[in-house]
């Protein structure tokens, strides 16, 4: 009995977390889905029409380009920091982690208005580059945290052995370090991409409305109230996120 109670509770909780996403997909795959119909007449017309609009395609590409740029920059910047933090201890490490924790404990809207004001002062707002720079504020802490956890378990004596045996720094990185930290690097990369891809407020304010990503189209569609447009844009915004999690999960399973 208790086992069944647990299973029912788990199924119910999972339904609450999954059902709204199913409703979005159904909304996108519907046309004139009127109340009180619980199930729409399914059609892909909405996905073809809304998904095929140049504005939608541009928003997807813009979000992806910004996400990839943010991910690469975050990993490049976080890598050396994580290696140092992984083998250090003491108050300096605490201070650095405290600095990295600030973006997580500052209310999102406060951080967004502050960063926007700062970039405005420097004349750096309104372009994709400035949005990339702004997204680094929330992504770098994640990148450093995940990579530090990776390097804490990393045995750098193997790299030293490779160096002793005559490998160049690049060979050590590519043939020794990279395979050893690959799964952790993938998780960090996926996480940073998702954080960037999901940003709405920072993109809206720093981009001054000129940088349009898919999350901004979702907001516009939400204000418009057309269920098909809402469903299509929201589904498109959610798909890469879901795929990224599946990919990261696969990388970890392969590692296991």
């Amino acid at each position: 009995m208790r086992r069944w109670t647990g299973r029912v509770a788990t199924a119910l909780a999972a339904s609450v977390l999954i059902a709204p996403l199913v409703v979005l997909v159904l909304g996108g795959a519907s046309r004139a889905w009127f109340f009180p119909d619980a199930w729409p007449d399914l059609t892909l017309d909405g996905f073809r029409e809304v998904g095929g609009r140049p504005a939608t395609v541009d928003a997807l590409i813009t979000g992806a380009v910004i996400g990839v740029a943010v991910t690469v920059l975050t990993l490049v910047v976080a890598w050396p920091t994580a290696r140092v933090l992984a083998r250090s201890s003491g108050p300096v490490v605490g201070v650095i982690f405290a600095v990295l924790l600030i973006p997580s404990v500052v209310p999102q809207v406060s951080l967004a208005t502050g960063v926007t004001s700062l970039l405005l002062r420097f004349g750096w707002s309104g372009g994709q580059g400035s949005v990339v720079l702004a997204h680094l504020v929330p992504t770098i802490p994640y990148g450093v945290a995940v990579l530090t956890a990776v390097f804490v378990r990393h045995d750098d004596r193997i790299e030293q052995q490779a160096r002793v045996l005559g490998a160049s720094p690049w060979q050590v990185f590519w043939m020794v370090t990279r395979p050893m930290v690959w799964s952790g690097l993938a998780v960090a990369g996926v996480l940073c991409f998702l954080v960037s891809w999901s940003q709405y407020l920072l993109t809206l304010l720093v981009g001054e409305g000129q940088v349009v990503t898919i999350t901004m189209l979702v907001a516009t569609a939400s204000a418009g109230g057309n269920p098909t447009t809402i469903g299509v844009t929201a589904t498109l915004a959610a798909i890469p996120a879901v795929l990224a999690v599946v990919a990261a999960g696969s990388a970890l399973v392969e590692r296991e």
Binding site: V23, F35, P103
Partner: protein, 291 residues
């Protein structure tokens, strides 16, 4: 001779992160404070001083917005905490094959952008949403108006639902490593020694999770208090969350409004730091002794 070289290399390694992340964050916070005080603004447009604070605190609806923001943030965070602890407890004490699927569901939910999730909740739980249609289908109601208002309602139920459903996965995932590695063996020992489930929960499980529980709760509270999307999509036109008010004022062409937005941001930030300091004082002993 080796040590200075290593220190220098460490500084070079840490520099970019501190400059980009630390510099932007600290700079943003500093500017937020100075702009709220009207310092550094073009002369004559905004007077230096606490005018912006006087203006926002005295404005109609400030107390309501503050109380409403605190209500949804506290209720959302506490419910998410309770849910996450329950899930972690169930998964730790009753291992099963479903957990991997459940973990996948949590990760998928966590990866969904907030604006998408808010829109999804609105499409599901509004009066003309999917749940309302299912209720009509089974004959419990006849029209959309018969379904209770849980989205864009004056109690913030929709916003709280957003906070709970997004933060529960985050807190659960933060708790699971400690629950599995540290709490599980201790719970087994407790059971062997005859401790009741409630004793195991209170004296073993919760103290063991403390190092992850309280930081996760603080991050969740900060998110809940400052998140814009839930209040904008799922909130009523009145009362509004402070985050929605801040954004509205920040985007106003009037520079005075922008100073007011920054003043509200400083107030919001102060609340988070105050709650964080309180939480840290109360939990420091646990966190230090168990981490």
């Amino acid at each position: 001779m080796r040590r200075p070289g290593r220190t220098a290399r460490s500084l070079v390694a840490l520099g970019p992160v501190l400059v980009v992340c630390g510099g932007l964050t600290v700079g943003a916070l500093a500017l937020m404070v100075t702009e709220s005080l009207g310092v550094g603004e073009p002369s004559g447009l905004v007077n230096p001083g606490i005018d912006a604070y006087r203006s926002v605190v005295g404005a109609d609806g400030f107390v309501e917005a503050l109380a409403f923001s605190m209500w949804v943030a506290v209720a959302g965070t506490l419910l998410a905490l309770a849910g996450a602890v329950t899930v972690a407890w169930l998964w730790t004490t009753r291992p099963g094959r479903l957990h991997r699927v459940g973990l996948g569901v949590l990760h998928v939910n966590l990866s969904i952008p907030h604006i998408v999730w808010a829109v999804a909740l609105a499409a599901t739980f509004s009066q003309s949403g999917w749940l309302s249609r299912l209720v009509v289908l089974v004959g419990l109601t006849d029209a959309s108006a018969d379904f209770p208002v849980v989205v864009r309602d004056s109690f913030g139920i929709g916003i709280i639902a957003h906070i709970v459903t997004k933060e529960l996965p985050f807190i659960t995932i933060a708790l699971l490593p400690l629950a599995g590695r540290r709490a599980a063996p201790l719970l087994r020992q407790g059971a062997v020694l005859g401790a009741s489930p409630m004793q195991r929960l209170r004296t073993i499980f919760l103290p063991t999770l403390a190092p992850a529980l309280f930081p996760a709760a603080m991050v969740s509270f900060a998110f809940a208090l400052g998140a814009f999307e839930p209040g904008w999509v799922l909130g009523a036109s009145t009362p509004r969350t402070l985050a929605v008010v801040i954004l509205e004022r920040f985007r106003d062409a009037d520079l005075v409004r922008r100073s007011e937005a920054q003043a509200l941001s400083v107030i919001l930030l102060s609340i988070v730091f105050f709650v964080a300091a309180l939480g840290w004082r109360r939990t420091r002993r646990w966190i230090v002794s168990t981490s």
